[in-house]
Amino acid sequence: MLRILSVATTLSLVASVGYAADRWDGADELEVSPLGCEAGAAPTVVAKDYDGGQPTSPPDRAGQEITVMDVPKLIGIGYFAATTQGMEEAAAELGNVNVTTDGPTEANIDDQITFLDNFITQGVDGLLFAANDPVAIAPVLKKALDKGIHVVGYDANSEPDAREWFVNQAEFNGIAKAMVDSIAAEIGEDGSFAIVTSTFTTPNQARWIAEMWAYAEQCYPSLEWLETVEAQEDNILSFNQATTLINKYGEDLDGLFGMTSVATPASAEAVTQAQLCGDVAVVGLATPNAMKPYVASDCVKSVVLWNPVDLGYAAVQVMRAVVDGKLQPGATEVEAGKLGTLSIVNGSEVLLGAPFVFTKDNIGEFDF
């Protein structure tokens, strides 16, 4: 009897929590700024004063050899291996920068802070970072500035006053526009889609989704937004979650968004193995190497990404420019070696460029 009771309790619990899921739209309170609907709409440039921080009496190392530590969100994943590659390219080109990448083995805010703290103690000339959390990382970065260390961020920002400059790979609203435009082109303006993301607390992903929601509401009001599932940074879990979405919605599902470089290929694989290529579109952020098989088989038509190698390259170039005094508060552009001149936006952000859309025609040209 008790056993039946406990089974019944288990199942009634399952049933009782089965209220309709909220559409997840990024869920932070920050402002969204969707771009215009027309093709090629660029962000309106609003002049803004420099809002970054400044190191306290840094030693003058202009033109001299400098030691720079790079602390990404985590080490041991392809994306940050690519940014590291770009940093080494820039260091080799400049000849007077020693850059080393080291960081936590999991995207953990506490471990990342510990690493940064150690490098401050070690006494480096500059720190590069990709923040796991914009606020949590701020105290330790401010400590670095206090010690006269130059601080430049890339990929994932901190609070502006905790670093000097941030190399922005592409603005959130730009990514959102590229993603939503791509899927609307594939599934039509009244199609329906679901999203596979890493976790709800990852700041970049949350911002993209919030911007995507705002942009879709403004430009494609009849796109149907089904649901968002979490899949960590785990290949197989992403595959399982994408498969579950396909099974759940059946023919009601027209498209899938992958929000990470792990989720996108796994979603493409799920569509391929369900033999739904052409019926379910996959659009997402991903690195080209992981996507080549699916693009080649026509299962995926467009992959959105900036070039992470360029991102790492630009970060080191910016660091050099800051140390040499060539990039001062109030500047409107900065020279970044082979990337040419990059413009400054939002007060203290160096913009790498517009997001890049890889297609079957150009994906073969990239190797990372």
Binding site: V14, A15, I77, E230, E233, T244, N247, K248
Partner: protein, 330 residues
């Protein structure tokens, strides 16, 4: 003295084997599974469509396979929390061999051998050098994970040769991982029940001292168990590596927790000596089915993990109530 051996040796009166068939944790899990399918299926019929059931089994068979080995380790009174890292390392080895041009069969077999060697070494540390298994596997977790990152730096393995995708094959229309899961579970269950080595695992886990006195070498048994666990981890890693056409070459997050949870929810006592691998396989399926069902019945994703925690607790409580009832019936 004789009484002590008998009590410690867990001799099994006939009523218990009957109980084991009809009243065990396996039955509860099976009932939960069926009830879950019926209820969620009635809310959303697509949940019980052949396609979704097949996906649930296919996508999680490697967890069930790894949980078989884990259950043996736990029944022997030990634990291995490095298994997630081990699977990550073995999957990377398998993929690298396949891409490196070795015959496909080699890239499928080497992880089994390497897995067995690594875990046999752990078993040696546990059994002969008397380091607690939780210490050995905590240390091993760091070593394997650090080693994997040092060597691969997270570079994905792509361009896997055709024919490598073991987990993607479908003989007679049924996905390959399901065969592995079912056959390995059956083989392991029979082996543990009827072979002398298999039974000695229970004896060692239940009461190592009594087992030793009745002529069982607990050291050799523990080392054997760990080595077998490594083989299962190897098989799991091959299923894991061949499921998609790229290999991530990182340690899958929280995989060891999922595998250990499957074992303990399956009725394997963490104190050793009790449990079956059938229970752990059913539990692995149940956990996966619960995860999938929560999406089907639109549980707000924020509460997903909380619901999973409650469900694990309820399954365990059901098992405790069952045992208590058995005790009182005695």
């Amino acid at each position: 003295m004789t009484a002590a051996i008998l009590a410690g040796g867990r001799s099994e009166p006939r009523w218990r084997s009957i109980q084991r068939v009809f009243g065990g944790q396996e039955t509860i899990l099976l009932l939960c599974l069926i009830a879950l399918f019926v209820i969620v299926g009635s809310i959303n019929p697509r949940y019980v469509a052949e396609r979704n059931l097949s996906s649930i089994f296919l996508g999680n068979a490697y967890i069930a396979v790894a949980a078989i080995g884990m259950s043996m380790v736990i029944i022997s009174g030990n634990i291995d929390i490095s298994v997630g890292s081990l699977i990550g390392v073995l999957a990377t080895i398998s993929g690298s061999l396949a891409v490196g041009g070795y015959p496909i069969i080699v890239s499928w077999m080497v992880p089994l051998v390497v897995g067995a060697l690594v875990t046999a070494f752990m078993g040696f540390l546990v059994a002969y050098l008397r380091i607690p298994s939780i210490v050995v596997s905590l240390g091993m977790l760091s070593i394997l994970k650090g080693g994997l990152i040092s060597i691969t730096a997270g570079a994905w393995i792509t361009d896997l040769p055709a024919g490598y995708g073991l987990a993607q094959m479908r003989p007679f229309g049924i996905p390959m991982p399901i065969y592995f899961m079912v056959l390995l579970t059956a083989a392991a269950a029979l082996w543990m029940r009827y072979s002398s080595t298999g039974r000695s695992i229970y004896a060692v886990g239940g009461n190592a001292e009594a087992a030793r006195l009745s002529g069982i070498s607990s050291k050799r048994t523990i080392m054997t168990v760990f080595a077998i666990h490594g083989v299962f981890a190897g098989i799991a890693s091959v299923l894991f590596a061949t499921q998609l056409s790229v290999i991530q070459s990182t340690v899958p997050p929280n995989l060891e927790l999922t595998i250990i949870t499957a074992s303990v929810v399956g009725g394997v006592s963490i104190l050793g000596g009790i449990g079956t691998v059938i229970g752990s396989t059913l539990a692995a399926i149940l956990l996966a089915a619960i995860g999938s069902s929560l999406i089907f019945i639109n549980v707000s994703p924020y509460w997903l993990r909380a619901v999973q925690g409650v469900l694990i607790l309820l399954t365990v409580l059901a098992d405790l109530w069952r045992r208590r009832r058995q005790m009182s019936r005695r």
